[in-house]
């Protein structure tokens, strides 16, 4: 398995890129000594220079510092959304698969409804009702995205339930929850985590799209989507303000997709040989 991943050059490019950006986010204070929130009204809209490698924004804040610290918000929000979606999706899928019957039918109905509707718009509406903030964006996105995971987990649970080791555990009189935690969950998690990581790029795009629309991170948070929204008004006088945050977001998503594409091939060798 690892040998094949090693051969996939694109996946490696993705992994390195993502690792690099993650490290940049973690070590932001060591990479720049500027404060991403410190304004300087005498030095607004400056093009890249020695002092400000990527220039300054409409309030004279250092763009590089904002990008580096902003990576924390962008990547952090993506990971937080991922954890939230996985938790809800796995819990619902386990519940539906293990309890079965009416509970299963009811939960899967909800899943059907959610899968049948345009996710970004539903998320936008939910955030609109809850009020604009990055936290609400996570809630909105998680509220519409858990459904597909719940369905996958339920499918896995249904097939695992019939396997001998689960039957054996039950025959020995193990309580239901114990069986779920010790025997079913460990088999479900790896698949779901890999599936979710394939989705990370799209998740990041959705979060920053909502921030771009103005319902996500609020000023002065240096979140990349928010920065692009702010940069829109200054397209004429300072195009570098939209160039760099956009490029950063594009590279992160590209890295996720390169990696995801490699992982997908690994998971499903048929796809590679076949179509």
């Amino acid at each position: 398995m690892w040998r094949r991943l090693r051969r996939d050059r694109l996946a490696w490019v993705g992994l390195l890129l993502l690792g690099g950006i993650g490290a940049a986010a973690l070590f932001a204070p060591w990479l720049t000594d500027r404060d991403p929130l410190e304004t300087d009204f005498l030095r607004r809209f400056e093009p890249p220079s020695r002092e400000h490698p990527l220039g300054t924004d409409q309030l004279g804040r250092d763009l590089l510092a904002r990008l580096l610290y902003g990576a924390r918000y962008t990547l952090g929000a993506g990971l937080a959304a991922l954890v939230l979606i996985l938790t809800v999706g796995t819990a619902v899928g386990l519940g539906a698969g293990l309890v079965g019957g009416r509970v299963d039918a009811f939960l899967m109905r909800i899943v059907d409804v959610l899968l049948a509707f345009p996710g970004l718009i539903l998320a936008l509406a939910i955030v609109g009702m809850l009020g604009p903030s990055l936290g609400n964006v996570l809630i909105g996105i998680a509220a519409v995205s858990w459904a597909s995971y719940a369905r996958v987990v339920r499918g896995l649970v249904l097939s695992l339930r019939e396997r001998e080791f689960v039957e054996a555990a039950r025959a020995l009189g193990a309580p239901r929850l114990w069986v779920a935690r010790r025997h079913i969950l460990p088999h479900v998690l790896p698949t779901v985590v890999v599936l979710a990581s394939l989705d990370l790029g799209n998740l990041l795009l959705a979060i920053s799209a909502l921030s771009f629309l103005g319902v996500g991170a609020q000023a002065p948070t240096p979140e990349w989507g928010r920065m692009l929204n702010d940069a829109r008004a200054f397209l004429w006088q300072a195009p570098h303000l939209m160039l760099f945050p956009g490029l950063a977001l594009f590279l992160v998503v590209l890295a996720c997709n390169f990696l995801g594409d490699g992982l997908r091939d690994l998971l499903d060798p048929h796809l590679r040989q076949g179509s």
Partner: protein, 310 residues
């Protein structure tokens, strides 16, 4: 077939009902008193009496189920109340903006197909060659491109620097070019990969071997025998990407100040204009559900291998 249609329609009704209950509940749990918002927007004085009077006028003093029932009764007659911001009827507002969104979505769809069908065919025919790998890379790059960034880049290059197209708004055909390209570029990678995958599968079928054995030219085999099967799923593909398309129009309309329903919805959300948000959610859910139903029915008609259970 009729039974299938009937059961699908019942399902659709249930789903839409659930959506309206959910959005109604969410809106009324959300912080912010609409009466105060409306008064503030009108520039009126905020006092205990004016607020209470406005609440009574909007029906907000009634219990929630009564409010929902009133809203539902209006909604089936396409009366969604008035906008908190402008006082205009919501139905009028939405209908006035619908044309612009349909125009943009249709233009983008045509552009995306024009680009992705030939590339998808080429990638399938020259599978595992440099061309195929390049198209895979192109699709990944396209799928990773934030559409809002792409839109800003296009505006900067072609409107600000070169001055070829107007920057914002709607009017002449030139206004449509940049928004349509932005939206199309975000759709095309998905289409390209799906067409390639379908055609690759089709080309391995027995009847393709038969056609080749008969001595048909490669061109005829691909275009006439392979592509025909490969294009049937394009109908489903339309259904699958409709969500993407609708989401995309919201973003693209915002970038280009395109006066469609997406832009209206974003403004309404930012201003907590609840009646507009609620009607928007219902309208899009309805459009989406109907489109998916149409796609499913069309698919059943097109492909005799698919049987439906009533």
């Amino acid at each position: 077939m009729l039974r299938y249609l009937a059961s699908r329609l019942v399902q659709l009704g249930v789903v839409l009902f659930a959506i309206t209950v959910l959005s109604f509940a969410l809106l009324h749990l959300a912080p912010g008193d609409p009466a105060q918002i409306l008064l503030r927007n009108q520039g009126a004085l905020l006092t205990q009496t004016t607020v209470e009077k406005m609440r009574a006028e909007l029906g907000l003093d009634q219990p929630l189920p009564v409010q929902y029932w009133r809203w539902l009764r209006g909604a089936v007659r396409l009366d969604f109340g008035v906008s908190f911001r402008t006082g205009q009827p919501v139905a009028e507002l939405l209908l006035g903006r619908l044309g612009a969104t349909v125009e943009l979505a249709a233009a983008a769809l045509v552009l995306a197909l024009l680009w992705s069908v030939p590339l998808g065919i080429l990638a399938a025919v020259y599978r595992d060659t440099l061309l195929d790998h390049a198209s895979r890379l192109l699709a990944l790059v396209g799928a990773s491109m934030p559409s809002f960034w792409l839109g800003l880049l296009l505006i900067y290059a072609f409107a600000v620097q070169l001055g070829w197209f107007p920057v914002l708004g709607r009017g002449s055909l030139a206004h449509l070019v940049l928004p349509a390209i932005t939206l199309a570029l975000s759709l095309a990678p998905v289409y390209m990969r799906l067409i390639r995958a379908n055609l690759c599968d089709a080309l391995r079928e027995d009847y393709i071997r038969t056609a080749r054995a008969k001595g048909a030219s490669e061109r005829r085999v691909i275009l006439r025998h392979g592509l025909r099967t490969a294009l049937i799923p394009v109908v489903t593909l339309f259904g699958m990407t409709l969500a993407h398309l609708l989401g995309g129009t919201v973003v693209v309309e915002t970038i280009f100040a395109w006066p469609g329903i997406g832009q209206l919805a974003v403004e309404a959300i930012l201003n907590r204009d609840f009646p507009v948000v609620q009607a928007f959610v219902l309208l899009l859910s309805l459009a989406f559900a109907l489109a998916n139903l149409a796609v499913d029915l069309f698919y059943v008609l097109l492909d005799p291998r698919i049987r439906v259970e009533g």
